[in-house]
């Protein structure tokens, strides 16, 4: 009995600590526009980190929590970008509609592609994700009449949000836009965290840990990998839609596998076994890029250097050491 009681106290204590960590993370994010200028940052850099951090976190639903590596997830990010951009450009001057359209375009196409590739494993899975991404890249690149081709899609702007009598001017006010992005970020990340703590989420961890055991528990592994791919596509498409709003611009580079690689690097840099790792990875990546690219055009070299150092000394990423549990 005493053993069980001690276990219960331990569990309660670790739950308390989790809430504290969570509160601290959100406090840092909410207060970011206040403290970032003090260390040389600026609000729109914070917004960019949130958007790319959301993309890397969404990709990590697949990599870190299902154990399946996609090197082509920029496809669904980019489709989110174009979905939002095309609505604002051609259909209606509505930011919420643009976001919904971006999420649906990236998510639905990700769901279809996922159904086609969920039987593949390992390197074959990674390769077909790249192949599909290239298809969407070339559509974006070649279809001048709709997407603007190589020059990208211009001539649209994110629109102020009307909430009854109150208008949130995310168009001209960077600070308002930051908080708007943080709000969407919170919704998406909250949904993902909720799913991961569900019975369905635990089946994904099971597949990551040991596919054969998962199958012999009666989990339909291919179907669950497909669902994880689909969910991850919807989530990353939300980040894509925000990216279109951030830049008031959509171009084929948001569909290119360079970006997929960057997102994987962000996730690994921060730590794929930690929920918040990819956000930290995105922050490090973007800050380094922002700072070093003002000094030299060869900034990517230094990012590579940092990546190699992190992988050598923190093989589980910057937040990896939080993963180690106590031994008793």
């Amino acid at each position: 009995m005493s053993v069980t009681a001690a276990g219960a106290v331990d569990t309660a204590r670790s739950a308390d600590r989790r809430w504290l960590v969570l509160a601290a993370i959100w406090l840092v994010l909410i207060a970011a526009p206040l403290w970032m200028p003090l260390i040389g940052g600026y609000t729109s850099l914070g917004t960019r980190i949130l958007v790319l951090g959301l993309a890397a976190t969404a990709l990590n639903f697949l990599i870190g929590f299902t154990g399946v590596v996609s090197f082509g997830h920029a496809a669904y990010f980019g489709l989110g970008v174009y979905g939002a951009g095309l609505v604002l450009r051609y259909l209606a001057p509505s930011t919420p509609l643009a976001i919904v359209a971006g999420i649906l375009l990236g998510g639905v196409i990700g769901t279809i592609v996922g159904a086609l590739i969920a039987r593949q494993r390992g390197i074959y899975f990674a390769m077909v994700t790249i192949a599909f991404e290239q298809i969407f890249y070339y559509i974006g690149y070649k279809w001048d009449a709709v997407t603007g081709g190589f020059d990208g899609l211009r001539g649209f702007q994110r629109q102020p949000i009307h909430l009854g009598a109150f208008v949130l001017d995310i168009q001209k006010n960077d600070l308002a836009f930051y908080y708007f992005v943080l709000f969407i970020f919170a919704l998406v990340v909250g949904l993902m965290g909720f799913l991961l703590r569900s019975p369905f989420g635990r089946t994904l961890l099971a597949i990551r840990e040991n596919e054969r055991r998962a199958r012999f528990l009666g989990i339909s592994v291919n179907r669950h990998i497909w669902l994880a791919f689909s969910i991850s596509s919807f989530l990353i498409a939300a980040a894509g839609a925000l990216y279109a709003l951030l830049n008031d611009f959509a171009d084929p580079s948001s569909l290119y596998f360079d970006l997929s690689g960057d997102l994987v690097i962000m996730a690994v840099l921060g730590g794929i076994r930690n929920f918040w790792g990819p956000l930290l990875g995105a922050a490090v990546f973007e800050v380094l890029q922002d700072y070093i690219s003002s000094q030299t055009v060869n900034w990517l070299f230094f990012i590579g250097l940092v990546f190699v150092i992190v992988v050598m000394f923190f093989p589980r990423g910057l937040l990896g050491f939080f993963h180690r549990r106590r031994q008793t």
């Binding site: 053993v3 069980t4 276990g7 331990d10 569990t11 909720f194 799913l195 569900s198 019975p199 369905f200 635990r202 089946t203 961890l205 099971a206 840990e209 040991n210 054969r212 055991r213 199958r215 012999f216 528990l217 009666g218 989990i219 339909s220 669950h224 669902l227 076994r273 549990r325 031994q327 008793t328």
Partner: protein, 249 residues
Amino acid sequence: MSMLEVHNASKHFGSLVAVREVSLTVAKGELRAIIGPNGAGKTTFFNLITGFFPPTAGEIIFDGQNVTEVSAAERVKRGMARTFQITEVFPELSVRENIRIAAEVAAGYALRPWLRAEETRNIAAVVEEMIGLTGLAGKVERLVGELAHGDQRAVEIAMALALRPRLLLLDEPTAGMGEQETYEIAGLIRKLHRDKSYTIILVEHDMRVVFHLADRISVLDQGALLADGTPEQIASDPAVQAAYLGKAA
């Protein structure tokens, strides 16, 4: 009433005949051991029963239904649970989480994004029951990958039991274990059979464990069924002694 009937099952890998026209019937509540020298086809035979791959010929009847063409996952749903020769667990999850996943999947919650409070309580009760049954009470929050081999095996058995199986298949449960661990796992299997009335099929190398636990023993040799009977019959069977026990002793 028989729990499992195998009729003339064969498995060929190219020109290699791993299992050759094996038939066997396991009664409800029986503990059946399958023994045989290395390469006799024991694990292949296990894989045929559990649907890891289909037989080249023959039929498998589980609880009155022909499951020869039924997938592994579906056989699990119908009540077959297995452990593996090399322990298969979720190493970076805790003991509790390992067993909870098995219990949730068995309850049909694999696709559920949330559970009602009552459902959560039922799952927790199953998990506690399995932890108690397998003697893992002091280790529930440990990561399974950190546990000793015998405890990992106990976790694997607990996961199989959480599926509420009607037939439990254990592939060399004491493989690679020391004396003490072997003794504990054998005690657990005996408890499951005698006290909980599980129907169990056991592949095992350790003859003390086999003759101590089994109601009936089937002997495989070079893919074929050599003998089938009570431990006394098997021990005194001259063919078995020649092919197997004589060499082993």
